[in-house]
């Protein structure tokens, strides 16, 4: 018995968009109590489908054809008023960004109670009570307090739970979840996924779950459809699709996923490229004449070494101090104590001018491929500014820039283009080229692949592996994605709340974690079981 039946759905994009149709000729159905995962690359039309079902398409985007039967009616053609009556009542939706999806100026309880108000359920006094019950149901701590709290007082995971509470308020028959966990860290993600599974059990609702993470798919999906460029390229049960993909694209997607396979640890060369000793960094936030500042120990007495030619993975959940450590090494953050020794010099002790002279030794590849290149400078300038400042002759620097562009696989001629003319993955390669242009001894890659699609992620990882081999580079690879870390690194360091809790060869850390925190972290990796099963 299908709750929703979509037939030949097409969604037209406005003129000037990257293609004519966001979604083309899609048909599928969802049965009651079923979780359907919709996967696919970024921009494949996943969100548009969801928005169309909710009647929330952005301006300029419109349904071009097809039907979507829900409860006996084509919800694509019913009037706006009817659609509004369905929304929140029989179909509910959760969005990707828990941080911005709640009204910052309204109390959580009120925002939940609003759903009842919208559909004229219960008396105003009861709504509060109902909201409280819902908050309990999604297992938010201290419900009495949460009802009165404002969104900013909640963590991302808590907000997402509040969103779910809202979506469940009127016991919808269909829940649409558009990447509800993408913005959360692994441990929180695991909790939310569990919550959704529980609720499905108890309420028996149908769930359309949009994601691009196959780990998540493995964890929760009953059935899967794979989308690409607005079309469905593959469909089937979770097991079928994951284990026996038919379409080329699905195969490539799956192949590109960093497997949970743990490579044997490689032997590491002897001479250290970087030595960190007793590093400390404390942030003081807020505070003023009459207020105590909030103190955050972002790095709390961390010591570690990276050998020449080694890739050290630094993992840990959000806020554990990974970025701060990386930035301290390149002195974008000045630590208050400790030493950072790069080929004999203590970077932490240098003054502004001395620092400028040795800075080239450690370079960084940044997380955001869009924000890390100056939009007004051609690639050539991005690649030559540094070397020229360092004293390399202009002509030589230009030549080198061309050569590096070849190395990262973009072609020498690309130096004359502007950043916006490249895709995200290509920009990330430019970022790598820029780091290499300085002839560094050590590269810090801070979430260098997190913003990228799985397929592109794989390319960049390959590139890094290749470069490391060719230039004997040391890399400090910061990530929160354990799978990625496992693929590339020789050793893994685990951070929690500013402390280094565990460090060791990949195989040891993964297969035999010592610290309890490492264990939780590993357990939270979505689709953990599936990854190992593939082995």
């Amino acid at each position: 018995m299908s709750v929703l039946k979509i037939t030949d759905l097409s969604i037209a994009l406005p003129q000037g968009a990257d293609r004519g149709f966001a979604v083309q000729q899609c048909s599928y159905e969802i049965a009651a109590g079923e979780i359907l995962c919709v996967v696919g690359e970024s921009g494949s039309g996943k969100s548009m489908t969801a928005n169309a079902l909710m009647g929330l398409l952005p301006e300029g985007v419109s349904v071009a054809g097809g039907t979507a039967y829900f409860g006996g009616k084509d919800i694509l053609t019913v009037s706006e008023a009817e659609q509004r009556a369905l929304r929140g009542d029989r179909i509910a939706m959760i969005f990707q960004e828990p941080m911005t999806a709640l009204n910052p100026l309204m109390r959580i309880g009120d925002q939940i109670a609003e759903v009842f108000e919208a559909h004229k359920r219960h008396r105003p006094a009861e709504r509060r009570q109902k909201a409280l019950e819902l908050i309990r149901e999604v297992q938010l701590p201290d419900p009495e307090k949460i009802v009165r709290a404002y969104p900013f007082q909640l963590s991302g995971g808590q907000r997402q739970r509040a969103m779910i509470a809202m979506a469940l308020a009127l016991e919808p028959e269909l829940l649409i979840a558009d990447e509800p966990t993408t913005a959360l860290d692994v441990t929180t993600q695991a909790q939310i996924l569990k919550l959704i599974l529980d609720l499905r059990e108890r309420r028996g609702m149908a769930v359309m779950f949009i994601t691009h993470d196959f780990g998540v798919v493995a964890e929760i999906a009953d059935r899967v459809i794979v989308m690409r460029y607005g079309e469905i390229v593959e469909r089937g049960s979770a097991v079928e699709v994951l284990e026996n993909p038919q379409h080329d694209y699905t195969k490539r997607l799956l192949a590109a996923i960093p497997s949970g396979l743990v490579p044997a640890s490689t032997e590491v060369a002897k001479a250290p490229a970087l030595e960190i000793r007793n590093l400390k960094k404390t942030y003081r936030i807020g505070g003023g004449l009459f207020r105590d500042a909030r103190v955050v120990q972002a790095i709390n007495d961390v010591s570690l070494t990276i050998a020449r030619g080694e890739v050290l993975g630094l993992v840990g959940e959000s806020g554990s101090g990974k970025s701060t450590l990386g930035r301290a090494v390149v002195r974008l953050v000045t630590p208050e104590s400790g030493e950072i020794i790069v080929s004999g010099t203590d970077m932490a002790a240098l003054g502004e001018a001395e620092l400028r002279a040795v800075r080239y030794k450690v370079q960084m590849v940044f997380q955001d491929p869009y924000a890390s290149l100056n939009p007004r400078h051609r690639v050539m300038r991005a690649l030559t500014d540094g070397p020229i400042a360092k004293g390399v002759a202009k002509e030589k620097a230009r030549e080198r820039a061309r050569a590096l562009m070849e190395t990262v696989g973009l072609g020498a001629d690309a130096v004359e283009r502007y950043p916006h003319e490249f895709s995200g993955g290509q920009r990330q390669r430019i970022g790598i080229a820029r780091a290499l242009a300085m002839d560094p001894e050590l590269i810090i890659a801070d979430e260098a692949v997190s913003a990228l699609d799985v397929s592109i992620q794989a390319q960049v990882l390959d590139l890094l592996r290749d470069l490391r081999r060719r230039f004997d580079l040391s890399i400090l690879f910061i990530t929160h994605d354990l799978r990625v870390a496992a693929q590339l690194c020789d050793r893994i360091a685990v951070m929690q709340k500013g402390k280094l809790v565990e460090i060791g060869p990949v195989s040891e850390v993964f297969l035999n974690p010592q610290h309890s925190y490492t264990q939780t972290l590993l357990a939270a990796v979505p689709g953990g079981g599936w990854g190992k099963a593939a082995q």
Partner: protein
């Protein structure tokens, strides 16, 4: 508690700023050519050097500059704004006499412009690209571009002189003997034209700001959430969009409310409104140092007070502020 502490620290900072401003103003005002003695002597139509010397001694202008400055600073530290020799009255009294008129005018203008501006901005944003929107934005642009004093002149010409509906100038009917409600009504009638002309410009400002802000907030994720709940558009607009969109408007309004106090010089001049803007302008012409300095200080204090009020309002609207710490 946090609020009390915040206000206290703000006040302390404000006091320091005020003192610095007072000193700067002192230099500024004394840099102007001429002095109150010569002006006063000049107006008498006859003066001899003795008279001017007498006046200077009386005003303390025969003292070295640094002593005058030290005295002035000493005075304001004890909250004494000094004495207006020209008007023969303590400056504070003079200002207090004039302040109510200014406050009535500027606050009325302020509220009219704020309420109307926000209302129009909401109306325009609700019908983006439609005729209503074009009409409202067009009118706002026009008000925005019209010199205030010119609008004032034209308003007097039309409503007071041609149509005779409203008094063209003044604060109330002089010597009418009205009391209570009759007086209030009388003042209100006098208030309409100046408050409207003063308010037009700001109304345009608020309208544009509200419209832009509404449109921007309407793009945000939580609005989509609200839609997904099945809320009616009018509720979404009021409860979700407007409240968030008001934040920048409040900031701007706070800035301008402060400025309004001293910024009504033109309106007060054209409409013969006995406020402190005019007092400032006239005292400047007469080089009545203490009075100008007093007006400046009071209006600077007003700016600061309004800033603090703005912050408080902001805290009321936005729970995020002040609670993080």
């Amino acid at each position: 508690m946090a609020i009390a502490v915040a206000i206290f620290s703000r006040l302390l900072k404000a006091a320091i700023t005020l003192l610095a401003i007072a000193i700067l103003n002192f230099f500024l005002v004394h840099a102007a050519p001429g002095d109150p003695a010569t002006v006063l002597a000049g107006e008498a139509g006859a003066a001899d050097p003795q008279m001017i010397a007498d006046l200077k001694a009386r005003f303390g202008l025969d003292q070295p500059f640094y002593i005058q400055l030290a005295r002035y600073v000493g005075n304001i530290m004890t909250l004494d704004l000094g004495y207006s020799f020209r008007q023969g009255q303590p400056v504070l009294d003079l200002i207090m006499e004039r302040l109510p008129a200014t406050l009535i005018l500027t606050l009325t203008a302020f509220w009219i412009s704020l309420l109307a501006g926000v209302a129009l901005g909401v109306a325009a944003s609700a019908r983006v690209g439609k005729f209503t929107d074009t009409l409202i934005t067009g009118a706002a642009l026009l008000f925005y571009a019209t010199p205030l004093y010119w609008a004032a002149l034209m308003a007097v010409l039309v409503f007071s002189v041609q149509l005779g509906w409203l008094p063209g100038f003044g604060y109330e009917t002089v010597g009418s003997g009205y009391g209570g409600l009759a007086r209030a009504w009388d003042i209100l009638k006098h208030l309409i034209l100046p408050a409207l002309t003063l308010g037009l410009f700001f109304m345009a400002v608020y309208m544009r700001m509200t419209r832009a802000s509404m449109l921007e907030v309407a793009q945000q994720d939580f609005v989509k959430t609200a839609k997904a709940k099945g809320l009616a558009p009018s509720i979404i607009r009021r409860r979700h969009i407007l409240r968030n969109a008001l934040l920048p408007v409040v900031t701007l309004a706070g800035l301008q409310a402060g400025q309004l106090v001293g910024g009504a010089v033109l309106t007060e001049t054209v409409f013969a409104w006995p406020g402190i803007g005019r007092l400032m302008f006239e005292s400047l012409a007469a080089r009545d140092y203490n009075t100008i300095l007093g007006v400046f200080l009071v209006s600077a204090a007003m700016v600061i007070v309004f800033n603090i009020i703005t912050d408080l309002v902001y805290r009321l609207i936005d729970p995020r502020i002040g609670q993080k710490a």
